[in-house]
Symmetry: none
Subunit: 145 residues, 2 copies
Amino acid sequence: MDHHARAADMKPKLKDDEPLQLSPPAPFVPLDHLMQQQRPPLPPRSLDVLLPGSQLPPFLSKTYDLVSEPQLDGVISWGPAGNSFVVWDPSTFARDVLPQHFKHNNCSSFVRQLNTYSCRLPMEISIRLLECAALVLEGFSQGSC
Amino acid sequence: MDHHARAADMKPKLKDDEPLQLSPPAPFVPLDHLMQQQRPPLPPRSLDVLLPGSQLPPFLSKTYDLVSEPQLDGVISWGPAGNSFVVWDPSTFARDVLPQHFKHNNCSSFVRQLNTYSCRLPMEISIRLLECAALVLEGFSQGSC
DNA sequence: GGGAATATTCCC
DNA sequence: GGGAATATTCCC
């Protein structure tokens, strides 16, 4: 499996595009910038890690978990930056995935819900932490369903 | 060929069960009583017969058709007077029938909808015609789900 | 996209 | 039972 890390992978090595920097010390970085960098490239398995105890609307937590499912990466997955998601296979998504998580199989109904929570077409969604640990969802423009 | 109408078909004829009545005239009967008597003992297959062109809420027309299904008489059927319905097998009704017609399998959700349209527990419903051809649903007290 | 009607869930 | 929150459909 790809989860088995080989010894070579665990030993830090220099890369051509990442020169070793020993000095001077890193300049001051604002906290929110640090948090941006600390955000994992792939979102965690469950929103509970990000927002423990929060009462997220069911649609948002279900969508988040659904997008995070590794088995569905060919159909729907997080975008490159981990702050958006993309539906790669809208037909399969509508026919097979939606009914497993919602009471319908219509892309339009899914999009309608995204709109309700301030997302926009196309099927991308942004999730990021705020100071108050609230969840914000923002839309982008790329692709469609 | 069918364009030849036979003489026998065009001539009105007396039937054994329809004696010719010349006198005296039938006594006066109020219109609503006539309509009561004219209501068929078993409801028609579709509400369209009763309320042609009416825009009935989907829940009511689906429930009406569902109750009218002969195959479901062992699970749900019209009551003796044809103006109420009874769920004879709530378990089967919830598990097998509800998901075929609605997006859930919960008796409570079905009852909630009945309540919305002025029905009451238990699962009986009254459907009758008014002068304005509107539909009225009334609840009775007998049995439960 | 989103308003509005209808449906489903949740909870008192 | 029914108010209210959320979900789904319908339609502009």
